[in-house]
Assembly symmetry: C2
DNA sequence: GTCTATACCGTGATAGAC
DNA sequence: GTCTATCACGGTATAGAC
């Protein structure tokens, strides 16, 4: 008796279409790719993507969703672990940032080219007014949990400052995921965008320090306010 | 004789096409827009864009170039001014970052909707593997000067770290320029992406502190190295 | 249920006549 | 500068093969 796979023995065609579409959408965006290019790359008939996904838009959604769920699960799990590790009753800042970044780093440095393509697609989606709502609807629930976790680690920072800081982190992450190679040329070879490990190590360190700085400047302005109160 | 207006003379055919194309490309990208949509929006014949710009690609280049030159001049000038203001023989960090960001902030909060559209277009271009080379060829000369200026302000930070930090700043800036509104929803209304002043004020403060943090951690590792040397 | 062949018909960029 | 024709290519529907 043949061992049954846990996950549905999906027909080869469907996955091949998703993979081909993922690679092409990541490279040229939704409008820059035709159904014919996708089916040709997947080695299937032009009509097959429509058979499975109903429309080009449906295929795009399918591509985006497939790995969004996996990624969300991994990041959510990593966040839980980070929150479980507390020092003096608070979760550790660096651990939270690591939980936020590491699953993406792993995706981007994965041997599976599909994951690397997916990262570039997410970057494209997140930068476009047309598609950014897909980010909101698939990722923002988890992002809110991250921001709440940051708040636990940095209770003196105001939520507004924390959200802006998250926005900056999100931008840095997005550009890193886009992997356009611009930094390679700019830095004259000092930085290699294909070396995701290095990029994410720098990002983690940079942002951990920057969030700490946020706490310090909050402390400063709180002191100022307090001393004003004392004077009055 | 009719008095000549100082402020924008009603754009003639060529400019109207650039304006229309700019708005549409910013919204939907190169492939998401048709020449018919552009000419309809500009109120000109379908053939006119081709007459002026040779091709759709030529039009795209024209849109990108028109304001790139103006922006480069403004930022270059701002950087010169920042470099002229030195404290103890070094340019001031915050001044350099301000010079880098302010012209873009002004563009994004301009009354001229064309500038606002242009910012979104640049964000799209910078996030796409297909177009990012346009960033390199039009902006990287100036960016190199900025990184050199940062190095003057922070002589102890290694160039590689400085380039990575620039990369992160560039990502934050890009996402801010993209102005997708995602942060508005996420923050539950605490942050308003259409309030460019606020966004850039936070960005300037955040990155100034983060770059200072970079210098401190360099100092730390230098000390460590030095103490290792001493031990040996 | 999975997949192919083909047809449909609107729209694309652009060239050439005016 | 403008109008119009061209013709390849776009997404997708359908018929039917395995």
């Amino acid at each position: 008796m043949t061992a049954k796979r846990a996950s549905p023995p999906a027909p080869a065609g469907r996955e091949k279409i998703l993979d081909a579409a993922e690679a092409l959408f990541a490279e040229r965006g939704f409008f820059g790719v035709t159904m014919r290019q996708i089916s040709e790359r997947a080695g299937v008939d032009v009509a097959l993507p429509n058979y499975y996904f109903g429309s080009k838009q449906g295929l795009f959604d399918g591509v985006f969703l497939r790995r969004a769920e996996i990624l969300n699960a991994r990041r959510s799990e990593a966040l839980e672990r980070a929150l479980a590790t507390t020092a003096d009753g608070r979760p550790e800042l660096a651990g939270i940032i690591d939980a936020f970044l590491r699953p993406i780093r792993d995706a981007q440095s994965s041997a599976d080219v599909g994951w690397r393509n997916y990262c570039r697609l997410v970057a494209l989606v997140n930068s476009s007014p047309v598609w950014a709502r897909m980010m909101t609807s698939h990722f923002d629930a988890l992002v809110s949990k991250f921001v709440s976790a940051l708040r636990l680690a940095l209770p003196d920072v105001e939520m507004k400052d924390l959200y802006w800081a998250y926005h900056f982190l999100s931008g840095s992450l997005t550009l890193t995921m886009a992997d356009t190679g611009r930094i390679d040329a700019l830095s004259g070879g000092l930085c290699h965008s294909e070396n995701a490990r290095d990029a994410y190590a720098h990002m983690k360190e940079f942002y951990t320090a920057a969030f700490v700085g946020l706490a310090k400047s909050s402390a400063r302005s709180a002191t100022k306010k307090a001393s004003r109160r004392t004077k009055a």
